[in-house]
Symmetry: C2
Amino acid sequence: MPQHNLDDTISLLARTPATLNALLRDLPDTWTRRNEGDNTWDAFNVVGHLIHAERADWIPRAKMILDFGEACAFEPFDREGHAREIQGKSLSQLLDEFSRVRSENLDKLRAFNLQPKDLERRGLHPSLGSVTLSQLLATWVGHDLTHLHQISRILAHQYRQTVGPWSAYLGVLHCAGHSEKA
Amino acid sequence: MPQHNLDDTISLLARTPATLNALLRDLPDTWTRRNEGDNTWDAFNVVGHLIHAERADWIPRAKMILDFGEACAFEPFDREGHAREIQGKSLSQLLDEFSRVRSENLDKLRAFNLQPKDLERRGLHPSLGSVTLSQLLATWVGHDLTHLHQISRILAHQYRQTVGPWSAYLGVLHCAGHSEKA
C-alpha cells in the first residue's frame, strides 16, 4: 500500500468488534478464560485491553496531534489499565462495550474529516519520538490484528497437548509471544 | 484441558465461518488479495484452503479411523489442492461455501455419535504414523486457529511500513511464517 488510504483503515477497524463477537461470544470458559501460562492474558483480558485502548489511546492521541502537534507528548499508555474495565463484567458485556466504543470512535474519526495532508501531521510519542497521524491510525489497525493473532494463539494453546504429533504442522503453536503483552 | 471435550471442540469449529465472514466479507481487495510476498497466500487463498480441507481432510480421515483403524493410511493432504476451489470465484462465494461445508461436516461429526472411548480409536497418518481420533479432531481446531492467526498476520503485513516506528510494539509484525503454508 503505497499511500495511507483512510477508507481502507476504517474498513478494517469497523470489522474487529464483529469478528471478536463471532469468535468469542458464548464460547465456553474453557476457551475464553484460560491463558498461555503465568503472567499472560486470556481472551477475556484481551477484549478488556482493546476497550481500554479505545478510551485512552487512539482518538485521544489523534486529538493531541491535531491540537498540539509535537509541542506536547502523548500520555504513556498503561498496558495494565484494563483492570478496572473487566472487573465484575462478563465477556458478553465486554464485547458489547468494545463494539459501542469502537463505533463511537470511528464516528469521531470520520468527524475529523481528515484530508491527505492531515495524515502527515506530527505528534510526540513519549518513547518513540516524532510520529505522524498516518502512523498512529495504521497502528490502530496493527494493534487490532496483533490481538486477533494473539487470541488465535491463546485459544490454540489450550489444545497444545491434545493435537498430539500434529503440533509439528500447526504454525500457531510455534508462535512465541512477541510484543510485551501480545 | 485434561480430557478432550467434544462439545468444546465443536463450539469452536462452529464459529470459524462467522468469524472469517465478519472479518473478510466486503473488505477491500487491498486487504484480502495481497499476500506476504513471493510464494505466500493471501486471505482469499486461505479461505480456499479451508474449504479444501473440509472436503479432503477432517471428516474423510475421521471415517477412515472409524472404518479401517490403522489398517489403511489416510490419503496425503494436498496443500495446493484448493487451486480448483478458488478458480473464478469471489471471496464472498468462498465464504458462503466454507460456511456450508463446515456446517455439513459438523452435522456428520454429530451423527457419528462419538463416545469418549471412540476418541481413543487410532488411524494411520501417512507421515506421522499412529494417531487418535481425539488428536485429529483437536487438530481440526488447531488448523482453524493457525489460519486465523495467519490471516491476521497477512493483513497486518500490508501496513508493515505504514505503522512507522510502532512496528517495534506490534507482535503480529514479528511473527515469522511457521508451518509450511501457515
